[in-house]
Assembly symmetry: C2
Homo-oligomer: 267 residues x 2
DNA sequence: CATGGAACGAGGGAAATCCCACAAAATGCA
DNA sequence: TGCATTTTGTGGGATTTCCCTCGTTCCATG
């Protein structure tokens, strides 16, 4: 009613749908939960229509349905990549939980953006371990903000909405001005010739984190093994340890072992 | 809930209640929404018990009830402040919409954290005006990320979960290394002797934004008039214009007029 | 002008939730 | 041990939501 904006005409149905759904998503940025009846009244449409909106938005992973309404999708919407696999999600949770156990009280930890590292951040907050985290990811920041024991330092940079994280030279410069005891990074691929990332801006951030951290943990699920991405982040020997759901095999396993990379398997 | 828990014995139902509620809150750190039936089954209690848990936790502001379940409390929960007034919310929306109209294509805008400036950010994203925004607020960042036309630059700093924004010397230094055509800041009070902010860390951020912006807009609703906060942000003459819902009156009006502060009233 | 499709609303039976009051069980204290 | 208090479970009626289908409206296209 207040947002039909620039034109005083009657609301055109063609715009109505997209507009309405945009509004729903914007509203969910401000509140964790919206009700069906409430939105139906606000937009002057039937509850059935809102229900259909929820249905579609939910399929795209943009919100979470619940009885009588919907809540915001877990921070950081991993977009249309194949990341939305429920199987993988469970594996990422296991990996994140295991990685969170590596954090010791007093640690300074750099955490990369990504769905797996976000899981780690959630479990670190859950454990309430006293530490300092430096990150370029907004979802990681907010997840860790839940815990009063964690001090979170946000890096500056250009905002990338698709990943809900910042990148660029500001980010890299900032990270290089700091030092950390350990870092946790994700990747799109891990092969015998190194760690790969598809989004170029993020490769530089990961490299920066690796270069200023004493220990480093690569968080990847086993589906990433023996694949490649666009930009190489690091050689195998630059990684301190790999936290994953299934131990690698064959040549990859041999390389990692030879280069002294520890494998931590999350159960 | 005032019972002494320091005697570790077998699982006593006495602990059950507090323990259960703790678990509920921990679960909500990992997921945005939990259902009643689901939790009842998980804890082996009746749904009525879960309902009572929700009721009490909700009263303490630790979660948000919804039909059939509950969701996590809003990230930056400005808790007991009177901020949650629905009336004020509409006024803030009007102010935000009006302020968004001030942004011209090509502008570089600094936007402060706060509920009113967040509204402005939402409407800027809604207008799809091509501009660059520098902010210390995560909600502002994400709201603007909705628009492909807006380039968002995030300032670094210590994360404040209560406001979902960063502050500190890193933030201030970063802002001072930049220049902007205009800035939009909120405040907790506006009186004849200046602009006030209650949270000290944020006053420094607002001052930094003011000092590097050619034009400045103060976004405050009329309930903030003739009140004070803990820290003074600026003198009246340091503000370029005030965007508000109702024109100030009396001495405040006279001072602003004499100091050349423009008043923009949002309809 | 006619046709097709998308979006939306209406209706109704099934299921889930809510709310209230009261009873049962567990616990603390004397 | 016995009693008061707290916590939890149960039951049922009112309400809300769900989910499915069908008819209407509006727009685009030929």
């Amino acid at each position: 009613m207040q947002l039909s904006a620039h034109r005083g005409e009657t609301t055109r149905p063609r715009l109505a749908k997209a507009e309405r759904r945009e509004q729903i998503l914007l509203e969910l940025r401000l509140r964790p939960h919206v009700g069906i009846a409430e939105l139906a009244a606000r937009f002057g449409v039937s509850s059935e229509t809102i229900r259909r909106d929820f249905e579609e938005l939910s399929q795209h992973g943009l919100l979470c349905r619940s009885h009588g309404g919907a809540s915001a999708a877990p921070q950081g919407r991993y977009p249309d990549f194949d990341e939305r696999n429920q199987n993988r999600l469970e594996e990422r949770e296991r990996i994140g939980r295991r990685a969170a156990e590596l954090v010791q009280p007093g640690d300074v930890v750099m955490i990369d953006s990504g769905s797996t590292t976000l899981q780690a951040a959630r479990f670190i907050a859950h454990r309430d371990v006293s530490c300092t985290v430096i990150t370029n990811s907004l979802p990681v920041t907010m997840a860790l903000g839940q815990s009063a024991a964690v001090r979170v330092i946000v890096a500056p940079g250009d905002y990338d909405p698709a990943e809900a994280a910042v990148t660029g030279t500001e980010t890299v410069d900032f990270l290089k001005r700091h030092r950390a005891g350990r870092c946790m990074i994700g990747a799109t691929a891990l092969a015998v010739d190194g760690v790969f990332e598809t989004v170029r801006g993020f490769a530089a951030v990961k490299r920066a984190m690796l270069s200023v951290s004493r220990e480093s943990h690569l968080l990847v699920d086993s589906a990433k093994f023996d694949r490649h991405g666009m930009a190489r982040v690091a050689a195998p020997e630059e990684i301190g340890s790999v936290v994953t759901d299934r131990a690698p095999a064959g040549a990859l396993s041999a390389i990692l072992q030879r280069r002294g990379v520890a494998i931590t398997r999350a159960t």
